[in-house]
């Protein structure tokens, strides 16, 4: 269970203060696909950042599977991101100068997975995204779709419980984007992880079990929650 309780996020101070999220309270199920939908500037990324432990709420509390995020110290928060989460970003953020192997191995290094176990894990992750051939290639030489698949391999390599994807198709043409989305859904099924996708795209949203509509920092409506809960 992912639960937000009276969560607000205010950027800046006093006169410059900007309320990006306002008093959000919601419970979202695990092992489901969740779309976060809204206009630009509505607060989708802010929501995802709070969920991903990259930022802390100004008020309220966030609880994931019994883990009270607001109470975690810096080290525990790093651990939470490194072990429980997988991130996929709009602009891929792969390290262009490094090989696909090294890109995917990064989370394993961060999580101190022993050197001798890494190779098999990385190879498995790359085969999931159909990039086995590219293991020695520099990430910079890949196409956009391949880069995003590489980023997905990096996100799943630690077998996280939750995958957070912020507009994963935003920089891709629609057919490549579809493939990436299908891949994310396939992997979600395979690992029965929770998949949270931030998107503008109604097609993508309609594929998800739950749709969370955000407007001006507040929840406008939620779809699929009852069905999912049943």
């Amino acid at each position: 269970m992912i639960s937000f309780r009276n969560v607000s996020k205010v950027y800046g101070k006093k006169d410059n203060a900007f309320v990006a999220l306002k008093d959000i309270t919601i419970e979202l199920p695990e092992h489901k696909t969740i779309a976060v939908v809204g206009k630009s500037g509505s607060g989708k990324s802010t929501f995802l950042h709070l969920l991903g432990g990259l930022d802390r709420p100004s008020e309220g509390s966030i609880n994931i599977n019994g883990k009270e995020l607001t109470k975690l110290n810096k080290k525990a928060m790093d651990q939470y991101r490194g072990q429980d989460l997988g991130f996929v970003f709009q602009s891929f953020f792969v390290e262009a100068n490094q090989s696909c192997y090294q890109n995917v191995a990064l989370p394993l290094e961060i999580n101190r997975v022993p050197l001798n176990k890494r190779k098999a894990i990385v190879e498995d992750a790359l085969s999931q995204v159909d990039l086995t051939e590219k293991i020695r290639s520099k990430a910079g030489t890949l196409s956009g779709g391949q880069k995003q698949r590489l980023a997905i391999a990096r996100a799943i390599v630690t077998k996280p419980k939750v995958i957070l994807a912020d507009e994963p198709t935003g920089n891709l043409d629609s057919s490549t984007g579809d493939k990436v989305i299908n891949l994310l859904f396939d992997l979600h099924k395979k690992y029965s992880s929770t998949l949270v996708i931030v998107t503008h795209d109604q097609d993508i949203a309609s594929k998800c079990d739950v749709r969370l509509y955000i407007k001006d920092g507040q929840i406008e409506k939620v779809e699929g929650l009852k069905g999912a809960a049943s």
Partner: protein, 431 residues
């Protein structure tokens, strides 16, 4: 992230910015080169100084003079001084210098801790010759068994020269037409002495050993000094000097100290002699003087080396700042993926350490290679005869490398701090 991964990762980052890394390391290498060479030169100079002192000086004896200023400002004074009967003219310019006479020697012998007083009877010969050679200049002196001598041929049975024998400096072997150092042993050498009034006398000696050409600059005179038994040296001295005002007056005498290898006893006797109004100098004092000169020179060059290091320090700071800026997204990503601020900071510190290590190793290895190659040439050029000017101690080189690594680590601290404090959201926002 483990240290091994951090080290590998930072090494990879450096390889991706090869030129920048090498240029920054090059600046450090210049410092490393200068410092390595400076330390090596100082080592060489000190070793040479020690050699110089100990081949001319018995470390358990003291050199004593009528006054201490002979050792400090050199003999003679350029200002009028109150007259004393100790004064004697020295050299052609008529500088006045106080000399020791027999009374002084007796007084010195009575100082507690003094084993014996040994005057150096150096007597100029009119000429030195052998039965089938020309005539050459030279002098004679008593063999001092307390100084280390090196022979190229022959040897001394009881560690001293028997009466009637001579230790011949190597330069005379060919001059006196002996076929080799070995062939000179047992041959006769004649020394003609002449009194001021013109009366001459010839003394014949059998060559017992050939003295290796001294490796020292100070020892230059001993290239022309034949070493005799104390008794023969005394006879030669007496013949030339008896009846003159200089007879039995000495610029310096050697005082042997009881148990003089014990530094504390040597120092005590030195103090006592100085308290009695004489000048006294130990091998250590002479050595200290040389060491002091070397140290001063070394400090001057080290300061220049350190100045280049200051420049390279800022080079490292600059390079690392650029590195942090260039890799803002990478840092943001690593932090988003759960890398701790500490690990991020370590990553950049290790990177700086790599740069330092590369620069230091390049600099010191270049210094060692170049130094080793040009050592023979320098030694020849400045007449270092057999000694190396540049002596590399691996402990020093290692210490220097560690020092340079520390310098670059310190230089990398600020950029590393900046990297570790990056907010991942901000960092990932930069396009």
């Amino acid at each position: 992230m483990s240290w091994a991964d951090i080290i590998k990762r930072s090494g990879r980052s450096l390889r991706q910015a090869k030129i920048r890394t090498l240029l920054t390391a090059a600046a450090l290498a210049v410092g490393g080169f200068t410092l390595t060479a400076t330390l090596a030169a100082a080592n060489g100079a000190k070793a040479y100084g020690n050699k110089l002192v100990y081949t001319n000086f018995d470390p358990s004896s003291l050199i004593v003079a009528k006054s201490q200023d002979i050792f400090t400002s050199g003999p003679g004074s350029n200002k009028p001084q109150p007259y004393s009967s100790s004064y004697a003219a020295l050299g052609d310019r008529g500088q006045q210098v106080k000399e020791l006479d027999q009374n002084d020697l007796t007084a010195l012998a009575k100082i507690s801790g003094v084993a014996s007083v040994f005057e150096q009877y150096t007597t100029s010969a009119q000429f030195i010759t052998s039965p089938n050679s020309g005539k050459f200049t030279g002098s004679v002196e008593a063999f001092d068994p307390t100084i280390s001598h090196q022979f190229t041929a022959g040897n001394l049975v009881n560690g001293n020269v028997p009466s009637g024998d001579v230790v011949l400096p190597q330069d005379y072997v060919s001059l006196l037409n002996f076929k080799s150092d070995q062939a000179a042993i047992g041959q006769t050498v004649s020394v003609q002495l002449r009194q001021i009034v013109g009366k001459t006398s010839v003394m014949n000696f059998k060559v017992v050993a050939v003295l290796a050409a001294p490796s020292t600059l100070i020892g230059g005179s001993s290239n022309t000094t034949l070493l005799l038994s104390a008794q023969d040296a005394q006879s030669a001295y007496d013949f030339v000097n008896q009846g003159t005002i200089n007879y039995n007056r000495f610029l310096t005498a050697t005082v042997r100290v009881v148990d003089g290898t014990n530094q504390a006893k040597l120092n005590a006797v030195q103090k006592a002699i100085q308290k009695a109004g004489y000048g006294a100098e130990s091998a250590q004092n002479a050595q200290a003087l040389i060491t002091q000169i070397v140290n001063v020179l070394q400090i001057i060059i080290l300061v220049f080396g350190l100045i280049t290091l200051v420049a390279s320090f800022f080079g490292v700071v600059n390079t690392q700042y650029i590195s942090v800026l260039e890799r803002t997204r990478e840092i943001g990503l690593m932090k988003a993926l759960g890398m701790s601020s500490r690990s991020v900071s370590k990553l950049f510190i290790v990177e700086a350490a790599w740069i330092g290590a590369i620069g230091a190793v390049i600099g010191s290895i270049l210094a060692i290679i170049i130094g080793t190659l040009i050592n023979p040439w320098i030694s020849k050029k400045i007449n270092f005869s057999g000694s190396n000017l540049l002596i590399f101690h691996w402990q020093q080189v290692l210490g220097l490398i560690v020092f340079l690594v520390i310098v670059s680590v310190v230089a990398g601290l600020l950029p590393a701090r900046k990297a570790s404090r990056l907010d991942p959201i901000e960092a990932l926002r930069t396009e």
